[in-house]
Symmetry: D2
Subunit: 358 residues, 4 copies
Amino acid sequence: MIYFLSEEGAFKEAVSRSSASYLMVNIYGKRVALAWPDEDAPRLTTGASFMTIRRPYVLSSREFKPEDTFVDVGERVRIGPDSLTVAAGPCSVEDEGELLELGSSLKRMGADMLRGGAFKPRTSPYSFMGLGEEGLRALSRARDELGLPVVSEVLDAASLPLYKKIDMVQVGTRNAQNFPLLQALGEFGKPVLLKRGMGNTVEEWLGASEYVLSRGNGSVVLCERGIRAPGSPTRFSLDVGAITKVKRLSHLPVCADPSHSAGESDLVEPLALAGVAAGANMLLVEVHQHPEMALSDGDQQITPEEFSSLVNKARALWDLLNRAGVKERDELESRLRDRVRKHRRDSGRGGTRPPELP
Amino acid sequence: MIYFLSEEGAFKEAVSRSSASYLMVNIYGKRVALAWPDEDAPRLTTGASFMTIRRPYVLSSREFKPEDTFVDVGERVRIGPDSLTVAAGPCSVEDEGELLELGSSLKRMGADMLRGGAFKPRTSPYSFMGLGEEGLRALSRARDELGLPVVSEVLDAASLPLYKKIDMVQVGTRNAQNFPLLQALGEFGKPVLLKRGMGNTVEEWLGASEYVLSRGNGSVVLCERGIRAPGSPTRFSLDVGAITKVKRLSHLPVCADPSHSAGESDLVEPLALAGVAAGANMLLVEVHQHPEMALSDGDQQITPEEFSSLVNKARALWDLLNRAGVKERDELESRLRDRVRKHRRDSGRGGTRPPELP
Amino acid sequence: MIYFLSEEGAFKEAVSRSSASYLMVNIYGKRVALAWPDEDAPRLTTGASFMTIRRPYVLSSREFKPEDTFVDVGERVRIGPDSLTVAAGPCSVEDEGELLELGSSLKRMGADMLRGGAFKPRTSPYSFMGLGEEGLRALSRARDELGLPVVSEVLDAASLPLYKKIDMVQVGTRNAQNFPLLQALGEFGKPVLLKRGMGNTVEEWLGASEYVLSRGNGSVVLCERGIRAPGSPTRFSLDVGAITKVKRLSHLPVCADPSHSAGESDLVEPLALAGVAAGANMLLVEVHQHPEMALSDGDQQITPEEFSSLVNKARALWDLLNRAGVKERDELESRLRDRVRKHRRDSGRGGTRPPELP
Amino acid sequence: MIYFLSEEGAFKEAVSRSSASYLMVNIYGKRVALAWPDEDAPRLTTGASFMTIRRPYVLSSREFKPEDTFVDVGERVRIGPDSLTVAAGPCSVEDEGELLELGSSLKRMGADMLRGGAFKPRTSPYSFMGLGEEGLRALSRARDELGLPVVSEVLDAASLPLYKKIDMVQVGTRNAQNFPLLQALGEFGKPVLLKRGMGNTVEEWLGASEYVLSRGNGSVVLCERGIRAPGSPTRFSLDVGAITKVKRLSHLPVCADPSHSAGESDLVEPLALAGVAAGANMLLVEVHQHPEMALSDGDQQITPEEFSSLVNKARALWDLLNRAGVKERDELESRLRDRVRKHRRDSGRGGTRPPELP
């Protein structure tokens, strides 16, 4: 249930007389009150226009915010409907010098952001776990030197203070429903790249994003990285339908990760292109100078040369499918906004469903 | 195990002294002897150069035939690496007049082939089963009138005589491992559109194609239509990785069916584009003048107008990714052929593995 | 929609004035009229008491027939709620002499039926396909000699005439939605062992059974043989929940096939027991004198000795859950507790395995 | 790679000259050195007998410790091969008085442990999250009063200090690969009930357990709670094959959670029995006095009366499979056969259900 507040005092008073739980959130320039469970709604309506949404997610839904969200990373990168953002880099940061050299090549080839793992979640405790804090330092130096914002995965809330000089914090598939971590990221405030759990539904994925948004951090990019599907020849099946579907349900930008889906370097480019064709706003690609010598995930990392081919094709494809559409989209969104506004005016305080998006 | 025969007589004599099973196949302009199980191979080598392939499929593999296969349908359609073939039409043929009208629109919008179900496999025996023979007659009349080749699904070998005026015979996901039907199609000789079983691996899919090829019919198009994947928001998850992977393993053309994957019309276009981006040579799309009135699968059928948008984007995307490549491909294939020829010459009768494709 | 007919004439007259499709079925001692689609129902009600069921299956539902169905196979076997039926035998019939010898052992050990594949569906056309008609003849001779009814898989309707001396006809997972075959079996009249498709839902499975029942053959046993589940360590994950669920939805007996689920002989016994614990009325087990020499599925076949252990435990377990009265069980438990106490006293608390059942 | 140390000094010296990472662990009464990656092994062998294991898990493997492990919880409960341990209780602790009352009933009915959620991981942040610290206090008071050890889920390492009076700490499916949490539990020292991730393989599950063991805590019970399987009618498919398989690969006890698999109360008992039949050493069952009023997971919670039936059957089944001597079973079977014969004689051959166990 969402409240768009007119009078906060009246709302709090109403809540104090009911059994409802509630949360006040400042997000996307609005002050919003959320209250649950739904049964208590009728008692809370005094002085506030409101909508009811019976889904695990509210703030990340198109009903709440029809227009696409832009997520700013650093000063120059803006992830969203107007461009294709490409983040690339090694699975793990292994050496600062190599990272700088690779980052410099990737920037020249067209990468917008640099990715690199410092704290690595590994199936076995006897695998290379990443350089840890040293890896994060190498990333932040690469950022300063190259002028590329950096993204790196975090494993627990306790480590967040180490991520102050990291521009975007990634939540991996194994932590996709680690709710205390998601809440901590909601308060940390940096943009979040939120992978889908390998066995999660789209509802669960959006529910996870809601943990970040409901703490006031609206800068979340959803990342599809493949699901375990019986019979698929890839390590994880890139669920292109989920990319498309989640964009209809949510205003958040969507990223495709072809590297973890593919599991072998040969398949990375076609999966990246499929992701863009399905509507992804961003790509996250693992690149290594010498994949055969990588300390982790060597099979799926591509070379800088292969990356160059990938990024060129992906951008051409994105332009083909989206350029023409940017203007149209702006028109559509303006119409949608009018429509939602009108619906709200007409329905007043009634708890009816919001208008369906066309 | 494959034998490229030099002396058929010597081969047969060797087989008669062993316990091996064997098959003589005329395919792709070659006369091939296949013998199994593998243990008996050494006894059969007299007078024949041969290769051993330890996979469920042989004739459909790139080791056997490195260059892409073209499948001719009717007189004007050639499915393969040089173009994107688009087949469109209603889930079920419901009325001859409507079919003609729809087919005429689709042709004008850029469809290469007309699809339509006459015998429909339905989960329940109390669903609309299609018009049967009457549906096939309507299709063949549409073909004559519009000059578009037609494709329709067959459910059992006994009905094949009814498909004489159908240009391409489709095997549905529920019959993807109906081996007697596949063998009958091998002998029937018409081009086959072979869907992947909804729970099948790529190896099983190619094994199924091998049932057709091993009876001498090399005109098989593999069709990915989505797999049951837990957590996916689409009815079936379009396994784009399988499209890419099967093209590396096999020389057969690959079709993507976005309609059955999507399960809802909204998602058909992006899935179609993802399929093309992943490398599909063909699209199979369900279109209906009035999807809301369709007797089957109304939710996933798109309107002719939506089809027009889809086909335009898909062709632009295909051109972008492939046009430049056609020339390169021809060069690559010619190099591959030389390499395989050289390998065969060098390795003589030895049972070594064939050269890996680059 | 189901009609329990009072006046057939009135029903037919009503149908002739509507657009409904209909079927008259004699099944389970009733004469039933089925009509669809549901929209036409109201026009058909004259003179007939009726029910509406909005599911893909009607005759196989508990709504239609609340009490459990018994399926008689041959003269002595009755599959249903009063006993556990065990069918065992080789994956493929390889030799008549061996089959007789094995069948004789299995009968002595407690098997109720003999299973054996004659026409085998194999992923690759270059695998052992079974002895075909010769295999069926061996089975029917074994039946005559041993007095055990036999069950064997059929691949297409055209081969059904060869199954006249086979007591029960099996439909494999690859033909689980081969609707023409299912309809032919409905008319053939022999009991059917209907495997669940490896990617099928319970609704689809019951829909498949409905194709047999709606042709007047009510003798169907549903067989769960495992589904493709991502992450499962077995070849197919035995879906015990489906066994339980399908028994609640349908009156048909349910069989568990632990051999195809397990994929390795070690796991066959515990999966068989889990199937019985979940409510299976029947077990289908692959047994071979020398699994390591089997021409197909050697890994999952167990030896006669292992079968003997399995069948004893399975029967004891079935009896415990289905037959034991309060007093007997209580006495047993008290004795068992004494024994356990004694065992612990004797063996200390070391981590050894408890005594095996013989 | 495992080292069983003879001389720790020599080992450390060898490591200091190599690039290997290593860990010294005191576990199961041994002092063990673990070193990786495997390539560095040969350089480390001086003065130490060792084994190499190329799997994500070492300490949890049967190769390392062939005999079954017992996990002691509190003073009276010992989970392992000699008995079936049953933990039961509400999904969430909702009220201390109700918890005491329920716990008292469950103890009388045969539960060995009391379970209850205090911190609940919920798909949506707008769901009931549990009573938190207050819930843990209620559990520890119930423990003191009833003398039953308690188990409750933890969501992050930061909350562990609150679990000092909880006897066993549960890791949920969403945290199954939350490696920092698992390491913290390795150091916390309390017994851990480790659920399998809903999309995890057995290798990943054992890899997760290894994070606990490698910090010196050997008291881990593995809990199968169902996986997302396409086509299954249950919320999660209870993977009985995984229960059996993991017991062969590992010495750790295994628990089955039928409640989360079932998703509906009707299916809980048969799934529990299937789990025991497959070899589970423990059951974890959700019970609520008034499931229809539960604040979470009401659909899958059973009543105390249903629990009583479940626990009696489960114990009888466990005894049968694990304890019963030949003579007892044979006598039972003969009596049962008589009873069945009598039952058939009395009831004719009608299709009624057999007498239920009370």
